[in-house]
Symmetry: C2
Subunit: 347 residues, 2 copies
């Protein structure tokens, strides 16, 4: 079965606390060059090129991030930026994008703050997901689970669908460590990475069935919205009235059409500094240095400096970040507490 171009829908936002002080409310994770040369947002766009069958992207972002989005938008790509007047979670954001596309278009919803090492694997999974979506499945990417993570939701694999993917037997909220270990051992569970393929008409019908108010308000916000060059501004009053819900909770956990494709593509949500060190290329001592750094007797150390020289001695499994007027030094294990620091909380 042949399908037309896949429409990338890139969700762009974030609070900027878990990778503080490099990531800030004013410049969150998607817009930072954390792995490789480009930013995560640029890498997300780059994984969906016309040459691989992708249409111009629709980016959904907040007004506060619009400048970053437009500054990092590659020339000649086309597409549209939907500027949310407020944050209303993923169900509303995806609904806005769906309502700007033809009914029969297949959209591929991608967060822009993840790292994917293997673009080919991503595109292969995207094509399979798009084929299932064209058959009216609502398709999640099931990310191959490689460790017993307690910070992610899981998808339990159900029966196969024509060699392309599987039905989702069950959505599981973030488990405790024992359950996460059991899922990993079982092999029939995958991480829910927040990447989805939908046929526009199918998604809107299911949204209307399970969350009629969200669907109606989103429709109103788009009908009353206005285009301005490549920007589209939904009506602020109509959008503000939308309930804030995740697409998982509003649609995926309720629909009978939930499917999944399996993706082993070197995925990381870069959920904290420890995860970033894991995702990055490292030297023979396990260190990863960005900016000026001199290390003596260090291993598994991440240095990220926006200017000042960092000199380190004798450290193991430590993260050092210098950004503007802030210096963060944390153990890798402590990285999950970064969001609780006064500097991250009181931005």
């Amino acid at each position: 079965m042949s399908i037309s171009a896949i429409h990338p829908v890139i969700l762009c936002g974030g609070s900027g606390t878990r990778l503080w002080p490099r990531s800030r409310v004013s410049k969150p994770k998607p817009f930072l060059p954390l792995v490789g040369d480009g930013t995560l947002f640029e890498a997300t766009l780059g994984r969906c090129p016309p040459s691989a069958g992708f249409a111009g992207p629709i980016v959904v972002t907040g007004a506060v991030h619009l400048a970053h989005v437009e500054a990092q938008w590659p020339a000649g790509v086309g597409g549209e930026v939907i500027v949310e007047p407020a944050a209303r979670n993923t169900a509303a954001a995806i609904a806005l994008a769906a309502l700007r596309l033809p009914e029969d278009a297949v959209m591929l919803v991608c967060p822009s703050d993840h790292h994917i090492a293997d673009s080919d694997a991503f595109q292969t999974a995207a094509r399979a997901a798009a084929q299932l979506a064209a058959q009216d499945w609502l398709v999640s990417f099931g990310i191959e689970a490689t460790s017993p993570e307690t910070g992610f939701g899981y998808l339990q694999r159900g029966e196969a669908i024509g060699g392309l993917g599987f039905k989702v037997a069950r959505f599981v909220e973030k488990p405790d460590l024992d359950r996460a270990k059991a899922f990993l051992a079982d092999g029939g569970y995958a991480w829910n990475g927040g990447i989805f393929a939908f046929r526009v008409g199918t998604f809107l019908a299911e949204l209307t069935a399970h969350r009629p108010a969200i669907a109606a308000q989103a429709r109103l916000a788009v009908e009353r919205g206005r285009a301005e060059g490549m920007r589209f501004h939904p009506d602020a009053a109509a959008f503000a009235a939308i309930d804030s819900e995740s697409v998982d909770y509003a649609v995926m956990e309720n629909t009978a059409k939930a499917a999944m494709v399996q993706a082993a593509m070197g995925w990381s949500d870069i959920g904290n500094w420890d995860a970033l060190l894991t995702a990055r290329p490292r030297d023979g001592s396990g260190n990863s240095l960005s900016g000026r750094a001199d290390l003596i007797d260090c291993c598994n150390v991440l240095v990220e400096s926006d200017g000042p020289r960092v000199s380190a001695i004798g450290l193991e499994d430590v993260v050092i970040v210098v950004d503007g007027d802030d210096v963060l030094v944390t153990t890798r294990a402590g990285a999950q507490l970064v969001g609780k620091l006064p500097g991250a909380v009181n931005q």
Copy 2:
């Protein structure tokens, strides 16, 4: 036996590598507020007040540090600054000061980069040392050894001299760890802290006996020197010709008049960041913070920042220093390697 005022001779210099990046060649340790509110230089002057029988100080320093010395000189104290045109170690520096004082004056030679917690104990030891010096002994302060340090020279205690102190039985160069442990267990050894009391005439006679060239050149440098307000400039050519030797090596280890007083006064040479953390007041978790700092789950952590906020999580026995365009993060054990960092070497 009563004596007249003690003349403090304060030696001020240093290379600024072991406490880099806070201490720099351009602003070494004496001029930094490392423990308490004042700088080490200010604290050194403050330990020798007129009220405790001290005359106005003679400070010997290099031209490069003159601005710091004069900026930190307390009002109304009087005294003299001898400006060395080059660094020629302690024998020459002390000779210059001696030659600016009367023959019968008693001088108390003090490094300005040490911390002394107990000023009363210092003054008590100084008075005993001055009485011995007035009797023509060349007196070293024997600092109570509290750990098997391998970075200091040691003094072995000899026979008592009239209840004031002891002859020095032997000078011991920096020992290895086994010998240092043996000295500590023996109890008859003290650290050589580089604090001395001399009668001027006795010192100059012994210097002339053991290092006639140094004595002659220093005399020439002073005779041909010039006073300028409270500054005294030795003749540059004469001074440049002086051999660079420590007073220990040139005089103390050769004289038959070596004596010592015992001093238990909370002394530290603050030889590295680890020693500074030990010398500083600390909170209940053993942390010592100077500048803006937010800590979570840290113990025995030193933070020293000249401006930027330091946020730290999960660290134990770690030193974090922010100074200008440099950030240092080292384990306490690694602190002894700070001088080998490119930043410290290539100042």
